[in-house]
């Protein structure tokens, strides 16, 4: 885990410095979110542009869409919105929908999907470690970067531990079938928490033993060339162009 999202490819997107990619992704999402949903032509343009960038990054579309499924629980309520609400109603096939709800719901789904696709391109073309370095470079508080990088390091260790506990449970004939077994699972989760907490203390001790004083080593900062800035900022810039053009056309 941790590096599972990364897809090793050689592309211009993969080779760009991670902090630039983070900046570009956030800028693109900001542009997409601030576009009014009624300007639907702009969103078509955004989607096409996202797919083009994914293609440049050599990310297979099937992978892109499979990973995008992660947003379904989050947009579930947005899908329900047209069915509840107030104001003007209209009939679409068998459904009797609220216009306001439909527009708001569609806005959430469309903008959410654009954000998720952008995040997928970022995480598929950048290792988790690199993203953390990028965030560090962007002056995210060092403590937050440290916590995230520890999580990255120990998620496997804790996972293995959990797996071993499960094997040990199962070996003694335990099978979680119903409500009455939750007590056992809750106890196991508690034990895992205590173990992880204690491991945290041991890790801290070993860090102190090697002279830790609150700062993790980090690489010397190297400046990115203007050309890479230019290239990576194409991502949000094209979105702005789409926005401007579609707005102008819409106003005519």
């Amino acid at each position: 885990m941790g590096e599972r999202l990364y897809l090793h490819r050689h592309s211009i997107v993969h080779e760009t410095a991670s902090y630039l990619k983070v900046v570009a992704a956030i800028a693109f999402i900001l542009v997409a979110v601030s576009t009014p949903i009624t300007n639907w032509q702009a969103f078509i343009g955004y989607f096409i542009w996202v797919l083009i960038v994914a293609a440049i990054a050599k990310i297979p579309f099937t992978l892109l869409f499979k990973r995008a499924l992660i947003e379904i629980p989050f947009i579930f309520f947005a899908i329900l919105m047209p069915f509840f609400g107030s104001g003007e109603r209209f009939v679409a096939g068998p459904f009797n929908l609220y216009r306001e709800g439909l527009i708001a719901g569609a806005g959430i789904v469309v903008k959410g999907t654009l954000g998720v696709l952008t995040a997928i391109i970022l995480s598929t073309s950048t290792t988790a470690r690199e993203i953390l370095r990028g965030l560090e470079r962007l002056r995210l508080p060092a403590l937050m970067v440290q916590i995230a990088s520890f999580m990255l390091r120990y998620v496997n260790v804790v996972n293995d531990e959990m797996e071993r506990m499960k094997v040990a449970r199962d070996s003694r004939g335990f099978e979680a079938t119903g409500l009455k077994h939750w007590r056992v699972l809750a106890t196991a989760a508690g034990a895992l928490f205590i173990r992880s907490y204690e491991r945290g203390e041991r890790v801290h001790l070993s860090m102190l033993s090697r002279g830790y004083e609150g700062v993790l080593p980090h690489d010397e900062v190297e400046k990115s060339k203007a050309s890479s800035w230019f290239m990576v900022l194409m991502y949000p810039f094209v979105a702005v162009v789409i926005l401007v053009v579609t707005t102008l056309i819409g106003n005519q």
Binding site: L152, R153, Y154, R199, S206, S209, R210, G211, Y212
Partner: protein, 246 residues
């Protein structure tokens, strides 16, 4: 006479809950010695180790590393002490917390203020010493347990310690890894304290052994004399493996 690498005098310690772990420990280890610290579970071995670099503040008595007093209140001296005492913990996963092997080995020297090419050289040298040079850019969880233990040793060697303290170095290793680690440890020219229950390992690597039991040193002699003294071993819940003779 030269200053001993480690000198402990009348060290006593009680945990905050009142449980006393050490009752006046005296121990002196000279430069270049390899000493096995033996004793049953709960004898206070780990507590003693934690005093060697000031993780546990010295409440009573004194601990000196190469003549310098370990004083948990003096931040500057503590920093120096921690660069002189390299502790290899029992579980390598506790010790290796950085994303890659190379970065983890750089952690200690970095804290000592090393940067750039000098840091790089220390990392490479430490990796060479434990024969793990080709694993520099790998994440620790992709290594075998034995490899992780070796990297853990490298993480403290990179700090050029005066004294290397190993907590159960042979535990959980397969026989080949156990022997490889022994070869590495023997090749190092460094003062060494090895906490272990693995008596054959102690006899293989250490010329001197001390037994800690009930918070005091009950024996301090050549490893051979200690391991051949059946009554002494039995009194301290230590046993040689069946069929093992020295």
């Amino acid at each position: 006479m030269t200053t001993p690498s480690l000198e402990i005098k009348e060290l006593a310690f009680a945990y905050p809950d009142g449980n006393q772990a050490l009752f006046g420990v005296n121990l002196s280890i000279n430069k270049g010695e390899r000493v096995a610290l033996l004793g049953p579970n709960g004898a206070g071995k780990t507590t003693l180790v934690m005093h060697m670099n000031g993780i546990h503040p010295t409440a009573q008595g004194s601990v000196r590393i190469a003549g310098e007093l370990v004083d948990a209140k003096n931040k500057e001296s503590l920093k120096k002490i921690r660069s002189k005492v390299g502790i290899v913990f029992q579980d390598p996963d506790d010790q290796l917390f950085m994303p890659t092997v190379g970065e983890d080995i750089a952690f200690g020297p970095y804290n000592m203020g090393k940067r750039g090419a000098e840091l790089e050289a220390l990392v490479n040298e430490a990796l060479e010493l434990v024969g793990m040079a080709e694993f520099k850019d790998r994440p620790p969880h992709h290594l075998s347990f034995g490899q992780r233990r070796r990297v853990a040793v490298a993480t403290v060697l990179a700090m050029k310690p005066e004294i290397l303290v190993l907590d159960e170095p042979s535990s959980n290793l397969d026989p080949a890894s156990r022997r490889e680690l022994a070869d590495i440890l023997r090749s190092l020219d460094i003062t060494m304290v090895m906490v272990t229950h693995d008596l054959p390992y102690a006899s293989e690597l250490c010329e001197r052994a001390v037994i800690l039991n009930g918070g005091v040193i009950v024996a301090d002699d050549s490893t051979r004399n200690i391991l051949t003294n059946k009554a002494l071993l039995a009194a301290n819940r230590l046993e040689l493996p069946v069929g093992f003779t020295i």
